[in-house]
Symmetry: C2
Amino acid sequence: MSLIVQKFGGSSVKDAKHIRNVAGIIAETYLQGNDVIVVLSAQGDTTDDLIAKAEEINPHASKREMDMLLSTGEQISVALCAMALEGMGLPCVSLAAWQVSIQSTSVHSDARIKKIDSERIRAELDQHRIVIVTGFQGVDRNGDVTTLGRGGSDTSAVALAAAFRADLCQIYTDVDGVYTTDPRLVPNARKLDEITYDEMLELASQGAQVLHNRSVELAKKFRVNLEVLSSLERKPGTKVKEVTKVEKTNIAGVAKDTSVARVALVGLEHNPGVAFQVFDLLSKHNINVDVILQSIGREDTKDISFTVHKKDLEETVQILTDSKQTLKFDHIAADDHIGKVSIVGAGLMSNCGVAAKMFEALYEAGINIQMINTSEIRVSVLLDEDDVNRAVKAIHAKFFDEA
Amino acid sequence: MSLIVQKFGGSSVKDAKHIRNVAGIIAETYLQGNDVIVVLSAQGDTTDDLIAKAEEINPHASKREMDMLLSTGEQISVALCAMALEGMGLPCVSLAAWQVSIQSTSVHSDARIKKIDSERIRAELDQHRIVIVTGFQGVDRNGDVTTLGRGGSDTSAVALAAAFRADLCQIYTDVDGVYTTDPRLVPNARKLDEITYDEMLELASQGAQVLHNRSVELAKKFRVNLEVLSSLERKPGTKVKEVTKVEKTNIAGVAKDTSVARVALVGLEHNPGVAFQVFDLLSKHNINVDVILQSIGREDTKDISFTVHKKDLEETVQILTDSKQTLKFDHIAADDHIGKVSIVGAGLMSNCGVAAKMFEALYEAGINIQMINTSEIRVSVLLDEDDVNRAVKAIHAKFFDEA
């Protein structure tokens, strides 16, 4: 007998039909003799509807009250799912985060899970009940409801899997696994049977939308076996774990991200601490910086280039311009018409031919590379936004069709 | 400075406009220097919408899960109301019953409040915050959410008023107070400035829909000053308290109830314990019996007549028929085409002319009385259903127009 955590997203529980489908999956798992903890998101549009209600009353409502409002969404999901399982004659109980209790920090709308009390869930599992828990939410030490921000429900599921040492944590979505690249763009993209945590992390942060990084990081930390699979098709998905097949010769996948913009500070004085000043300033304004490149400029000056999210570009330029006197640079160049394409694979950088193969594919496609950035298991290139899709196709073909 | 509890029902918070109106009333009370605890029901149709969702998935869902589902309704209301108050720049906090905590019995869908922890609310009041609490719900000793059944939100408000020794508990509804009779039926019905708990109890149980008996009983027990008033008109309502004007000469009001049916067991043997057997049997099936009348029948037999709710009539007849051998009666007569009209007033029965005045009104209107039942402060008559409205008008005219 195993303990399995199953998480279903909002589109998987969007109406009565979908909830019955989800109940069917849960029932099958339970009737095979497993203990099951289920984590659910709010139904389809519920969160948007609640936000609209709030906006109508007060567009600047406090995050504390927004969390109080939005957390009802998951509670509706878990109650309805429990009713569906009751209808199938299965013992079950729905629990809100405060009942579990999933204790979090007090940062409303973006809280972090601190601790999960195992007592209540353990008692319910001992009674052979299926336990259905609200995802995306917690309760802080004052007893106030919090929400966990982006990727919150996945994180709830992984945290529960870690707390109860679950044998498997299944994340059900509307895709059937992790692909070598976006199947909508490259029709012969392949579903991966397995992927390592690190590969998944790089793919996720490089634009693959399947799993949020927070949940993968937590899974890696507590060695939680993840599986990404579809709630609509009953077939194996992609397993995310510490080590996959030993003799892997290929990359795991190709990811794209067109939400980035490039900023360059040109003509910085060549003094120590300049880079620190720049990025300290931006971090104080909560602006996340990704690919960073520093180069020697003309006449003893240097340039620093980096990428930010497109939505942060305007603010970034403003902040830097405001500090022009302190930072001492010549001018700022900004470009929001760029995109990032990455290849990800365990041990990629220790396999020297791989990066070259990527650049070769781009060269053959006549695509110009603006910036290059690498990690142990990833190579990213910055390109003109118009070239991004063509680049993904060319690289994917190079690695997977010629293989 | 006073502590005032204000309760608003579902129709008072049904949309953004109404919530803003409610926030205005709360703000006015708070800005006059009072501490304010607000109790809210779920918005207008929310509960019905949630029930419809549940029915679609499982028409026989457990009450435990229904409570989990339905309790989201009030949570949405309190969060939205807090947002409206935030928008007016007022300090406030919304709290669910489990946060307060309002501890209840475990009878899902019909729980009773056992205890209210005052710590959290007291701390918030000390911070000069307006506290907005979910009505209609509690949390049991297992940490499960319960709902309080009919009249639940009024009961929550009165319980909070009792726990915090509030100076006043205002119940805002869509009518502006308690009337001498239904104003839709009798246009010159008068709004009462004051009424005693007992009068209110009798009026409520005799069909006046303004306040539920549970909340009035609780208010009487803890001497909570109640006021029933309209959320749409800013004017005084009806005060419900222990003693009203001393020299009251008139009745408080005329109530009707057409939800009753009459059952008669004819030809019962004249043995001791027969009445006990009959009503014990019915109470075991959770059937509430109202007016009971016993009379000597022909030839040493007796008849027992009583009223039940119309919805219970069929089951009542079935239960009694099934026990015909044990109870030993001749036959059952049932009539669901009846209604009950009552006059209510403190000290009514010690004022011997009052009952006679009621019967006189009915006689003058040519209306036949089927059964009569009295309490210390009430006289009820059972009539043909078709005569009910005419009876109310005649009695009301007798007591109020001729006065």
